[in-house]
Symmetry: C2
Subunit: 228 residues, 2 copies
Amino acid sequence: MAFPPFAVTVDLVVFTIRDDQLCVLTIERGEAPFAGCQALPGGFVLPDEDLAAAAARELAEETGVGKDAEIERVHLEQLGTYGDPTRDPRMRTVSVAYLAFAAQLSEPVAGTDATAAQWMPVATALTTSLAFDHGQILVDGLERARAKLEYTTLAATFCRDEFTIADLRHVYELVWDVTIDPRNFHRKVLASEGFVEPTGEHTSQARGRPAQLFTLGEATQLHPPIRR
Amino acid sequence: MAFPPFAVTVDLVVFTIRDDQLCVLTIERGEAPFAGCQALPGGFVLPDEDLAAAAARELAEETGVGKDAEIERVHLEQLGTYGDPTRDPRMRTVSVAYLAFAAQLSEPVAGTDATAAQWMPVATALTTSLAFDHGQILVDGLERARAKLEYTTLAATFCRDEFTIADLRHVYELVWDVTIDPRNFHRKVLASEGFVEPTGEHTSQARGRPAQLFTLGEATQLHPPIRR
DNA sequence: GTGACAATCGTCAACTTGACGATAAAGCCA
DNA sequence: TGGCTTTATCGTCAAGTTGACGATTGTCAC
């Protein structure tokens, strides 16, 4: 049975928070097309590899997120598939985009096929011309991320294992690009059954009154949601 | 440049409401593998065809949803991509699933490559063993459909061009499999800015007080949403 | 100690929601 | 014609939620 052959790739929109900014992982392409251009990390799916496995592999390659416990603190979900016949001048390619949320990872970043990889502020990335249709993929990923914060507990994946309500609020503020009343936010988070679990410990360093530390609770969905 | 060749297909989860039931379009496969088995309609993406175009083409082929105004009353969105290496015993296949909502269409249904096509009640389909991973695709499609009714105006795409609030409520009840208080639902729909637009006309046939007719308003998102 | 700062607790009016009573406008039927 | 049934539509009310913002509480820098 004959069928039209396609190349299938995965591309990653990996978000993290660094230096008080929402950042996305980008690489500088080493080869044509778009050599020297910024792009989302990604690569071909191997002949016997599941799509999600390919995404996880690429993520590990580009970020150094290894086997460790690190990988468990990363959220990875399918974002969408992009298959415009003209998206890659070389051949007919279909790209399955994945969206990842990560807490600040070990600094190292070095791709295999990429010249360099870096965390680029999303605000910058949105005004940068990215390779292929990666600009659109980024926009879609950002919108998905914003929506997910409303009704899931995924904001916590941007934080370290133990975090304060303020840390969590900061995630919302950066991703949504809004300011949130600390008092109302505090109330809502605690009201959301299973969102956070107090550890009993408190922060000690920074200015102001020490804050209680929490870990992520059992819930994955927020009831009620936290609206934009 | 060498790359692993994949077959790329689109599969469709097409929902409609018939005989007071939520139904999904299925075909009986004519060829191996899974010959004689129920499956979702779908097919290969052509070499120079966009994914969404392939989905629209397959939809037209299977349902007879032609060029007419009909096609404009159908909602089609990408659902997700399924690429387990073992999903198709013949070859490495990646399937991009699309989700469609349609009002009751012209009865005719006749695929090109399929033996037969029919509207199967979703309740039945969920307990039927479908070909490939189509069972999972259906489950995912149903969940997406249910979620979409909450915060979009897509329920109206299950209705004819002009519909009553009760028609709309019926869609929610069938898709969510719940009963909804007519009075509160009525209030919420009218409160949702831009959801429906009165035509000024009324129904005349059925029992009970004639109901006002509406068309879909400008909005695509519901503010506030209608919760499950 | 004093002030700055951020966490946390309270208060309140405006709004939303679910439950359900009441009324309206048709057809049906004797 | 006058009930009776049926469904649409309007109202009411208590309970819960939300946003705005005042008040209090630990800590640190000085």
